[in-house]
């Protein structure tokens, strides 16, 4: 079992000609943690991973692993290995030869090599495929072989480039569990790139949200979900109701948030700007009057049964809310119900999307 390594990303910029792909990325990954870099396409997450792996040279900045600056090291000299999106298993070699490739490059031969390969295959749950040709394996099996190949050389950091993208839903969920388990077993620091926020939350100790080459937010999944730092993070991680609002001073000088188009007011802190954006998760809305903030009467416009929950679309005038409820809660379309929410569950953002 390898002890994980601490990764430090300092001031990374990446330009391709005139276009900037990454802008001043500064991140610290704790040793042995499972880090997920999350973002939409074009966010720069794949480029960041390539820079960590040494396949792309950053325009500025450095990558430091366990205190050693590896910024100018080539992939073969870096203490990282990568699991590629297409697995990149050598089609002309058997499973054993594939997994043993890195060991062969390090001069490990014969029985010693075979033993380590068998151990790695055991670790990923494929004990009997040593002599099979990789083209005969299923997608899930190839994924595991790719993992075994990357882990057998005991890297300090394992990089995964959208490893579960090619798998169907059930297999993906299963592999997520196995990846989490694997990471705990070997202890290596994992850096995993994905656009799937559910995957991120399922696996990560730390999530980094990238958008247009910048870090939107970074932290533990729970914090990111309940207290997102930016509007983008709020909307990207799970569903969110977004409502524009204004902040006015009432007669006693207290700031009051007034949601546009609704007769709703509540107090807020001193430092709110005049125009704000509210974000409320669907599951935090209550269909009773027990919440701090009374959101008034809403009509049920749509009802969707989704299995474990039901999703309602509510309307009031021009405004619309998404609400989720357990299916046991009976509600009819066109019914008018009372909605409220706790003040703690409302996130306030400036018009530019930053936390207010």
């Amino acid at each position: 079992m390898t002890k994980g390594s601490q990764v430090s990303i300092q001031g990374i910029d990446k330009f391709y000609g005139q276009s900037q792909i990454l802008d001043d990325i500064n991140l610290e990954f704790a040793a042995g943690s499972y880090v997920v870099v999350l973002g939409p396409s074009g966010s720069g997450k794949t480029t960041l991973l390539a820079i960590l792996g040494g396949f792309v040279e950053a325009t500025r900045g450095s990558v430091i692993i366990d205190g050693i600056d590896v910024t100018s090291a080539t992939p073969s000299k870096r203490p990282t290995t990568t699991v590629f999106q297409d697995y990149a298993l050598f089609p002309h070699m058997s499973v054993g030869q594939n997994v043993g490739f890195g060991l062969a490059m390090r001069g490990i031969k014969g029985d010693d090599r075979r033993e380590q390969v068998e151990e790695a295959l055991q670790l990923v749950g494929l004990p009997h495929v040593f002599d099979r040709n990789v083209t005969a394996l299923s997608g899930g099996q190839r994924q595991r072989v790719a993992l075994a190949r990357a882990l057998v050389v005991k890297p300090k950091v394992l990089l995964l480039d959208e490893p579960l993208g090619a798998l169907d839903l059930k297999l993906r969920r299963q592999m997520q569990d196995e990846l989490a388990h694997l990471q705990h077993t070997v202890g290596t620091t994992f850096v995993h790139v994905t656009h799937d926020q559910e995957e991120a939350m399922a696996l990560a100790d730390t999530i980094v949200i990238l958008r247009d080459g910048q870090v939107e937010d970074a932290g533990a999944p729970e914090r990111l979900y309940t207290r997102p730092a930016t509007e983008f993070a709020a909307v990207f991680m799970g569903d969110s109701n977004v409502l524009p609002a204004s902040v006015l001073k009432d007669t006693s000088g207290v700031n009051v948030v007034s949601i546009n188009g609704l007769d709703v007011r509540f107090d807020t802190s001193e430092s709110a700007p005049p125009e704000v954006v509210l974000s409320i998760r669907p599951e935090y809305l209550r269909v009773d009057r027990a919440g701090d903030v009374n959101l008034g009467m809403w009509r049920v416009a749509e009802k969707h049964f989704l299995g474990p929950i039901q999703r309602l679309v509510l309307t009031s005038g021009e405004s619309q809310l998404n609400l989720t409820l357990p299916p046991t809660h009976k509600v009819d379309i066109s019914e008018v119900i009372h909605i409220s929410v706790d003040k703690d569950s409302i996130a306030l953002f400036t018009v530019e999307g930053k936390s207010a």
Binding site: P75, T82, A88, H92, R149
Partner: protein, 282 residues
């Protein structure tokens, strides 16, 4: 289902007619001819192995066969060796947007007439030609050397053309290898050289085999280059066949020699058939 099968046959009909009537039938006739004999001014149609016996016993024919195999094998080897680094550099060291133009530039010279191009080689390699001119005037040699009208000339002219053919097939198979394979090898600690030997080379072999096979098939049956550039000193199989047809009018013998030529190609095909399928990496 029935209707579609019928339509299928109807649409492929013309192609099958062309193949059957215009290709297979003439080929069958050639084979039949090879068992006939030219006697006097006409053709004796009693089946006989006389032509084949003559080919095996007469040294002219045996020699031409051996010469052809030697020349073509050398051509294949040299062309592949020259073409591989060329294709590799274009595939991996040249920015993608320039690759097409560079390939085009390599192919362009071959849009000149084959006959004229062969004569150009004759001129380039002749005693008063460009090459000898350059060698004598720079003082490297004192007397011009004879390259034209020799086997060397034939091989040079062949290699000139087939390097381009092999470069194209090797380039295609190199580009087929996903970038991530080579990245993975480097990532696992392989040096650029070891990456090439362990990953790139094996996966590009189908392209090499296709190029080599094409080169063999086209070269072994080529008449123009050995005739024009190689001259009449050493005769290769195609030249011997043409001799039987034009000078001696012995069609049956020419047919038998053609059958031998075909057999050579079939044998080489059977040897390389397994490797000829381009493996698509999944």
């Amino acid at each position: 289902m029935k209707r579609s099968a019928l339509q299928g046959w109807a649409l492929s009909g013309p192609a099958l007619i062309v193949t059957g009537v215009l290709f297979l039938a003439p080929m069958a006739l050639v084979i039949v001819y090879s068992f006939w004999q030219r006697v006097g001014g006409s053709i004796d149609q009693t089946p006989t192995l006389a032509n084949y016996q003559k080919i095996l016993s007469d040294p002219t024919f045996a020699n031409s066969l051996v010469n052809s195999l030697q020349v073509v094998t050398l051509t294949v080897i040299i062309s592949v060796l020259v073409a591989y680094p060329f294709a590799y550099v274009i595939a991996y060291k040249v920015p993608p947007k320039w690759q097409g133009i560079l390939l085009l530039l390599a192919v362009l010279p071959f849009w000149t007439s084959y006959v004229v191009r062969s004569y150009s080689w004759l001129l380039v390699l002749a005693k008063q030609g460009v090459v000898n001119n350059a060698l004598t005037s720079s003082g490297l040699i004192s007397d011009p050397i004879s390259i034209a009208n020799t086997r060397t000339g034939t091989i040079i002219a062949f290699v000139h053309f087939f390097t381009m053919v092999c470069a194209l097939t090797i380039y295609a198979s190199l580009r087929q290898i996903p970038d991530t394979y080579r990245k993975a090898a480097r990532d696992l600690g392989a040096s650029p050289f070891r990456t090439f030997v362990a990953v790139t080379l094996p996966l590009s072999l189908p392209g090499v085999v296709v190029g080599a096979f094409l080169t063999f098939v086209l070269a072994i049956g080529d008449f123009i280059t050995p005739q024009i550039v190689g001259g009449g000193n050493e005769l290769l199989l195609p030249q011997v066949i043409m001799l039987q047809i034009n000078r001696r009018g012995d069609f049956p013998l020419a047919a038998a020699l053609s059958v031998v030529l075909l057999l050579l190609v079939v044998i080489v095909y059977l040897i390389s058939a397994k490797k000829l399928v381009l493996r698509r990496p999944t």
